[in-house]
């Protein structure tokens, strides 16, 4: 992570270690405060098994009056029944209290192991110690971004500052990913903060398609989690009336840019990943078809291991496209790998496999482009490769 973006006006952040994780070097609790009431919008997991903090946030968003967000890592507070719900409510209440807000003016996110109760005494200590460290310096943002990580190897932060209606508006986001990253946000947490003035309705309306196009177009292992959450908070500290019309469109562009940068960073930091794979599926009749195909390719262990091995094994790519549940004419299908056409209109093309393999071995970025020649819809999807290190991380996580 190079230069950190600025913290939007009126927000204060801090990340601390409160011993939910064993390693004292790893912060495990992040507190975010808005000095004034912020509108808040949310997008959540589509898993049938939903963690307590997701249930809570779903009830509370969209909202016009959120003052605090508290996030812990190391424990997902998922599959924890009624006690888990009480713990999530208590966590929100404690966060609200230290920010001088009402109990229901806080939101909660959790990530980590499923099925264990939160150590509420430690969480309480964490919230208290985070409260005294709240700040808007780069170090504050950095510690907040660090407090939400699990097996991530680096923080994910992105920001944009744009001029809207003559005022400077900042959007800055933090996110975490790494494992259990699948279609529809998996164990992915994202928090997008802006000082733009937004109605709750506009915030929710802007957020949903952006999440569909960014955080829902990544996959590490196809495993949708119980806790996925993306929240957008807008406190209006930049001043002016709530955004509408072309100002709102321009704000959405900035938010899309920040979200795409964070989503890409999550895929790039997939557990054990040695390649970031960009899958572009084009020429489909409908966007849903393109997404289904991109997802099948992204989740194929055979595609992912081939790329880990720098192997231009295109048969695995086209055959994965073929089982996505989307009908197409193979005779119209073409495939480029790192810009090299290797399958054209249903027929293999002669190519220099050794040179392409060298290219894949020396570059972390791999580009797969599938064109179906049957329509105008397209999608861009990001995933990581599958390495022995992924297996090591995930075979050893719990015990």
């Amino acid at each position: 992570m190079s230069q950190l973006p600025p913290v939007p006006e009126g927000f204060l952040l801090a990340g601390v270690h409160c011993r939910i994780k064993r390693d004292p070097q790893k912060p495990d609790l992040t507190l975010v405060m808005s000095e004034g009431p912020a509108t808040a919008a949310g997008c959540y997991t589509q898993n049938q098994i939903v963690a307590a903090p997701v249930i809570l946030d779903r009830q509370r968003t969209p909202s016009e009056s959120i003052r605090a967000v508290v996030i812990n890592s190391g424990n997902a507070n998922a599959c924890t029944g009624e006690r888990g719900m009480r713990d999530a409510e208590k966590m929100a209440e404690l966060a609200a209290m230290v920010c001088g807000a009402q109990a229901e003016e806080a939101l909660v996110m959790s990530t980590g192991i499923i099925g264990e109760f939160l150590p509420m005494d430690l969480v309480e200590q964490g919230i208290t110690s985070a409260a005294v460290k709240l700040g808007n310096k780069p170090a504050s943002l950095e510690s907040a971004a660090r407090g939400i990580l699990t097996t991530d190897t680096c923080i994910k932060v992105a920001g944009r500052t744009v001029e809207l209606a003559g005022r400077k508006v900042t959007v800055t986001g933090i996110a975490k990913g790494s494992g259990m990253i699948g279609p529809n946000m998996s164990t992915m947490l994202g928090l997008l903060l802006t000082d733009a003035p937004l109605t709750a309705d506009a915030a929710q309306r802007v957020l949903e398609p952006i999440v569909a196009d960014t955080f829902n177009c990544i996959s590490v292992d196809g495993h949708t989690s119980t806790n996925d959450t993306v929240l957008l908070l807008g406190n209006g500290e930049a001043g002016g009336d709530p955004l509408g019309g072309s100002d709102l469109d321009n704000f959405a562009d900035a938010l899309h840019g920040v979200s795409a940068e964070l989503a890409r960073a999550i895929a790039a930091d997939g557990e054990g990943a040695t390649h970031l794979i960009t899958i572009e599926v084009a020429g489909c009749p409908r966007r849903d078809d393109a997404v289904a195909i991109a997802r099948a390719v992204a989740n194929s262990p055979l595609v992912k291991t081939a790329i880990a091995g720098a192997d231009p094994n295109w048969g695995r790519i086209v055959s994965a496209a073929g089982y996505a549940g989307v009908a197409f004419d193979p005779a119209r299908l073409s495939l480029e790998l790192n810009g090299v056409m290797i399958f054209k209109a249903g027929t293999p093309v002669e190519f220099d496999a050794a040179a392409l393999s060298r290219d894949m071995r020396h570059n972390r970025d791999v580009a797969i482009r599938l064109h179906f020649g049957e329509g105008e819809a397209s999608v861009r999807f990001w995933t990581s490769d599958l390495t022995a290190e992924y297996v090591r991380i995930n075979a050893d996580y719990h015990t």
Copy 2:
């Protein structure tokens, strides 16, 4: 593989090495001949990209007059366009010729690398040399079972002999799997031979639900291939009229037993596998729901790596069930792992994780049982774990 089952009456088999594979120790071509015309039924891949031999066999089954089946390993003859179709037809013609049959009385299967043309001169030599080795001894069956393997570590053979309508009837099958094994038969080849008298219609009608319940209820990596094929040949050499009524039901039971044994063997021999995982999903309103849930659990890299690591990480199992696209009430869901109840009616149960982990470390078989308490439908599904060795095999396969 212990004692081999008998070869059904009137069938002759042989497997030879004809240099499609580089390693001279590995047979790569199998020829099967029926002395008289056999009825033949087939079930094929659901991939949109379909290999030439699958196109050919689909045209020729069901049939009342098949005399030969030729199978090569090491090359899938997939994504090979019109030349691939001509090669598949030529292969069938050569096999028919050496068996004294008409060109169209032969079927073909291929498995191996996608997108390369078959070395037809070698295939022709292979068919000629297999023809002179045809036999019905255990060694013939063993060589035939070996000639269809790719990265499999062992042959898959199963058989049953039953008495039907006062006559002894034998069903014996061979299969291969190992990689690209996903829902709906993936790179899975199966050949079921019987001396039972069957009409083509009965053969097809009996085969389809059995494949749905056996070969389509396994997964190694969820990657449905271009070449999956299961063929059933019945030459009636056991004598008597075509089976019907309860005789046909009893035959179907024997065929189901053989198919289940082969399917289980494929899952157990998944690339790099150290555990065979049996997933039982019960208490669903509809069987399709149960299958979708079993498949999601079977294909979750997080579940598969947890089991490789002997880790009773049940949160990964229930969360995989939760993203299968099937609505259910989490408060009714229960989970047993190796017979130990660890999640009951939506709530974690205290259990001895260390003892369960030891049990998983010392036994190759792992049993996952999910009960949804919402109906009577159930399914049994087999898969393998995901190890670093799987990654090694598949990162290094091509180059």
